[in-house]
Symmetry: none
Subunit: 195 residues, 4 copies
DNA sequence: GATGAATGAGAATTCATTCAT
DNA sequence: AATGAATGAATTCTCATTCAT
């Protein structure tokens, strides 16, 4: 297709992109266990063999999808961290449910596919480091006075609460969510008063 | 779920229990997608047909395991809430990783199996109510002064942070965990000073 | 089927026998590489799944066929060894081409399927021991005078020459075969004169 | 096979040689059934399409490898026959295991691929004729007295015993091998005393 | 001379499920 | 209460081969 580079796995291949998108949709709608070359191919309007041509093993495919998700997530994270209010941006980022269904699937998947696990672990680690670096630069000293909380601790707290709200929301359980969000907002207000 | 429901394979059967245990192990080790009558039977040392005899469909089996897990979780929760220090007990409960791998699998599963989803949703709801009731009775008024946090909000916060620590720990990411735990501990200390 | 025992793999199952026979034919006609559940099933007039039901893996199937061949071979060998002229019987046994095509396939197969290799190795060892025992009892002392040949050495010699004749014959090469057979016959005549 | 045949991929091509070598290794290690353009290409560090470019069909490739093996075998044979002691050289040649794994594969293959079979049959015939010619010139008359053995018969005998030793050795069965070799050595000594 | 893309076929398994006993 | 037999559908993966460039 086209003039561009066309090695297998070339990131420019349209077919490859189609396959990745179809797989993402499939995971989102039916879970990681629904990923099979057949299902993916059907959804992408391609032949199953072609899926194997681009992604010889299912692991390869899943890792590629996880990397794609990681990249998209990175973009959102950077946007949040580079905004005028990085801490609240991060909090919004964690409360954003759009990535969560996928993240949950991949978390579960990581328990069983070592390759996926490694890829996720290293990405999580990098994200955490990036978050901590930005927050530290911004409010490192001020946090120290706050019950001894650190930037690293803060990201864990915000990530945890945000994710809990999204996950439970997915199940239809919402009790206490608004209260928890209000609480975090108040707390951030004390920490970082909006003038 | 009434105890007396007259389904094949009385709930008291030892064989039934064997099957459930084998399934639990399987999910814990290889994920929900690994559950099949064959695999379960092999692990339990039974014939595949027998698994079908007790649990006609895989959904039946998965729901039974999820209910069993829910019951066990309830026991642990009650223990925590009836202890001398219910709030810290709850915090321990949330940080306990023993249920999390399973919970994660079922959370993912819930996205795709409506029956599992309903069962989990109603259980989560009941658990949350129970937690809130106890905490409310204990420190309801004191919480009000705390940035407007409520009992419901508190459970969400503790649940979220605890779960984040467990999930990330499963991936091998631990940065900020100790800090976050220290922070929560300090905060609980201010809220509920141990004499 | 029938009243007899019917565990999977029960040697009495007619279906199992059908599968083994079909596999044997397939190997004989098209080589070990032609063995697949599909091909076997088609030839046996069964469904591929049924082949897997009886022989979960292809190794299982191949080993079963090799054991069956070994048993049949054992019967022929015993017949030869228990005849009035065991040494010449053995020589006939080795020249008999009926087992050779299969034996060749399994020999080649043994290089690549460890399970088959082990099964064949232990059978070959037992056959050799049996041959040596009989010959030793019969003409052990007499052989000693014969250039120092032993019973074990004799079986190797007869087996080798017999097999060479059969293998080359299969290729259509026959030069020197009659000479070699005459030579062995003369030699056996000197060793064991027919009165 | 003329040297100048104008097939795709001149016989002098280094790439062609790489492919043949990779195929040989593959057959030796995993058997003829493991030969596929993919596997060969991977092992040779080439693209599958390139293998097809040189050898349009798998048969073409297998025949080429068999011819190459035949040529190498011819070289060894000539060396043995042109040495100062051609008969013992031939005996060494037959006991040499390095060619046997391949020979066995091709023998099995010959049963199913007519093209391979023809190529092997004519080569075997030529080799036998060459061996007989040399031995005949050397000890033809002397053999006549030896139980009526002929040069042709002798080659069959030596080939058979040598091959038996190598084949059984490959299986791990070695009983009687030393005895058989001693026996042949004694016999050759009587026939062709080393002064 | 070489190669990337694509495809249809088929391999080895695994599975859920049904049925008769 | 339990189980052996059977089956059709899927799943993962490998292959030979073709074609356009």
């Amino acid at each position: 297709m086209a003039i561009a580079a066309r090695r297998i796995g070339a990131e420019t291949s349209a077919t490859r992109a189609q396959i990745l998108t179809a797989t993402e949709e499939l995971i989102r709608e039916e879970g990681y266990a629904a990923v099979s070359s057949r299902r993916v191919a059907t959804r992408a309007g391609l032949k199953p063999s072609l899926v194997h041509y681009y992604f010889p093993t299912t692991d390869d495919l899943l890792i590629a999808v996880s990397l794609k998700g990681a990249e998209e997530s990175d973009v959102q994270l950077e946007e949040a961290l580079l905004s005028s209010d990085p801490v609240r941006g991060l909090w919004q980022f964690f409360k954003d449910s759009s990535r969560t269904a996928m993240a949950l699937e991949f978390l579960a998947l990581a328990n069983h596919r070592p390759a996926v696990r490694e890829s996720m672990a290293s990405h999580s680690y990098e994200m955490r480091r990036r978050q901590v670096a930005v927050i530290d630069r911004l409010i490192g000293e001020r946090l120290a006075g706050e019950d001894g909380c650190t930037s690293a601790g803060l990201t864990v707290v915000l990530a945890g609460i945000g994710r809990a709200i999204v996950l439970e929301g997915g199940l239809g359980v919402t009790e206490g969510h608004q209260d928890a969000m209000d609480f975090v907002d108040h707390w951030l207000e004390r920490l970082l008063p909006k003038e």
